[in-house]
Symmetry: C2
Subunit: 395 residues, 2 copies
């Protein structure tokens, strides 16, 4: 990477966010007929599938409300958040207030509330939206959904869980992570004790149960008492998810001036990048087996947009908080890899899925799992990190 | 491909089956301590995971019993079938006779009976095994499982189904296919009427509902009245599955001397190969979208062993039954692709998963989905096709 001044980097991210990515979603994703958003957008923004996945609907509401709350109070952004919130409020929940997984374009339920992450993103969406508009009904939806998640958290899949519960009890890292994130997001409407307990629980579980102290790697699944499990799920390392988790931790630790936790999160993040980096083709693998056995996921060697963007956020934040030179040199390496391959200069927005060699695997800009979320959030977060830096960059 | 005599081709397949593949599984897969089979075998046969997936346990029982019944009555083969059948009988079912999806190495249930294909392969396994040993208890297990499948077939996922049933009713091609196959397998213990009805139902559904007459492609999912569905599942084409289905159809039609149905199956099979062939790198894609939109499956462009082996069976059988030159020229093209890339000359057996360019993606010989089934079955089937040919091969 050319030696950049912090201001240039902040400007790079701001431009990508405001002149490319956000306009792309404004132009192509709004369903003016039925409400809500199209997320299955082909390379040029053409809608190639009209189903509506509640995760992605909620994430887009969150994103536009967040930009309104934190970056600039643009009416156009608030209108988009309102447009999505209205659709979700009308169609997103079953009669018990559980959030469906997928809807038809006109809002009829397609897939049952089988996935608690629909609820998590809905709570985040309505919380940000309520903050933006001061809407008490939205605030109530956020709070009610949050309580419902707490009530379901010990059996998040409910009747859809296929595991025989007693044979090999397993807990997943995703749950404490999302709860900590949620509690921070909903901090303004929760009491301080709930928020603090949730954060303490997250840190204790992450570093006490999911972290392997020998390798400094986080496992996606362990036994409830933190033992490694020698099975596909137990050996699974998801580098992008670990790295994202570590910037959540840095973020919340920095609010408490907890430098020990920041240092620990940076160590784990760097160990994960070292482990996950593809020495042959560059980029970070999607899935790996902690013992170097064949992973179960056939897409293990692909290079995904969000993995690289979360790494850039984590490294920029780690450098801002610690000024560690290894963070800065990894930042530059992944910056170059990412900015050379993912942005689409012809049609705008970024590719999501590259093959191992870094070539485009799917030309889509949005699909069943890629929406208006990781890319604009990371662009925003990186911009903010570089805005806050002032010392000269190291060589 | 060098111009081969039929006898040479039959010999090639026989050698691969009897001198390479079957000995590999005999050597590495038998769990002499707990019973049953290890299926997660690394490149050289080392066991890398000990969980036992009921599908693969049952398929291996079926395969060894089938070889015993149809190829040669070797005691060693029958012992292996018995070894697996004993483990399955002891550990494979819940108290209602539904088959679990996965077990620990010592047979404790890990994953509930959420997948009716566990039951299908168990029925096939116990039927072949009962035929081999004249064991009435095994015959009863096969028959009871078959009746159970019929009872569950209108709601095969039961409580684990996540679809809201009324919004977009959908039927899957997998079910009629497996039922026709099962009915043929269990023919010796079922009454003729049951078998015939099942086969008629399969043909009527396949060609009346799942086939798109405009493209001659089979869709994996359609509405119950055969309408195309414009959604990810509805647009999904699984070339390997369609091609496998077509040799099942050719096989059962040839037993009835139904040349019209054979011709139809050959047309669909060739249309599928034309559609699924990767003109850039060779090989047949794993998943495609019927409207050339981005498929949901990230592994869509990979080249899988079973897809190519089922194609060789289908093309060899089609050529034997029809002498169509286009079947023979496709056979040669896919023969060369397959035999050059999948066999592992150093460690034996065949790779399962290649990337788009045909390079090894995972070095394993067995895993959660690859066991002792598609490869030896296809080697056996191809051998049999070429043994039955006598006219000289076309240029």
């Amino acid at each position: 990477m050319m030696k950049k001044r912090w201001r240039d980097l902040a400007e790079l991210y701001r431009n990508a966010l405001l002149s490319d990515v956000i306009p792309f979603w404004q132009r192509h994703s709004i369903d003016t007929r039925c409400g809500g958003f199209y997320t299955c957008l082909d390379r040029d923004g053409t809608v190639f599938d009209t189903d509506k996945f509640v995760w992605l609907q909620a994430r887009q509401v969150w994103l536009f409300a967040m930009l309104y709350n934190r970056l600039e109070q643009r009416d156009a952004w608030l209108d988009i958040a309102r447009h999505g919130a209205r659709f979700l409020r009308r169609h997103g929940m079953d009669s018990d207030g559980n959030w469906y997984f997928a809807l038809t374009s006109d809002g009829r339920p397609l897939v049952q509330p089988c996935n608690i992450f629909s609820d998590c993103f809905a709570a985040m969406a309505f919380s940000q939206y309520a903050l933006a508009v001061g809407d008490d009904q939205a605030r109530q939806i956020a709070e009610r959904t949050y309580r419902n998640i707490l009530a379901r958290k010990h059996n998040p899949k409910g009747q859809y869980s296929k595991a025989v519960p007693t044979t090999r009890p397993t807990i997943a890292m995703a749950l404490p992570m999302i709860l900590a994130n949620l509690s921070l997001e909903l901090q303004w409407l929760l009491d301080a004790r709930t928020v603090n307990e949730s954060i303490e629980m997250c840190l204790a579980e992450l570093f006490g149960l999911f972290l392997d102290p020998d390798t400094s790697l986080l496992h996606e699944h362990v036994s409830p008492d933190g033992r490694r499990l020698d099975c596909f799920d137990g050996r699974l390392i998801n580098p992008g998810h670990s790295i994202e988790a570590m910037w959540f931790v840095m973020d919340l630790a920095s609010r408490r001036n907890d430098t020990a936790t920041i240092a620990k999160a940076v160590d784990v993040m760097l160990a994960t990048i070292e482990f996950g980096w593809d020495r042959q083709h560059g980029g970070i693998f999607y899935f790996l087996d902690s013992r170097h056995r064949p992973p179960q996921q056939l897409e293990w060697d692909q290079k995904l947009w969000w993995v690289h963007l979360e790494s850039l956020v984590a490294l920029a934040m780690a450098y801002r908080l610690t000024a560690r030179r290894d963070c800065w040199s990894w930042y530059q390496k992944i910056h170059d890899y990412t900015w050379q391959r993912f942005p689409d200069p012809d049609c705008g927005e970024w590719y999501g899925y590259l093959d191992r060699a870094g070539r485009v695997l799917l030309p889509l800009k949005g699909g069943k799992w890629k929406g208006c979320f990781h890319l604009p959030r990371a662009l925003y977060m990186c911009m903010r990190q570089f805005e806050q830096l002032s010392d000269p960059a190291p060589d």
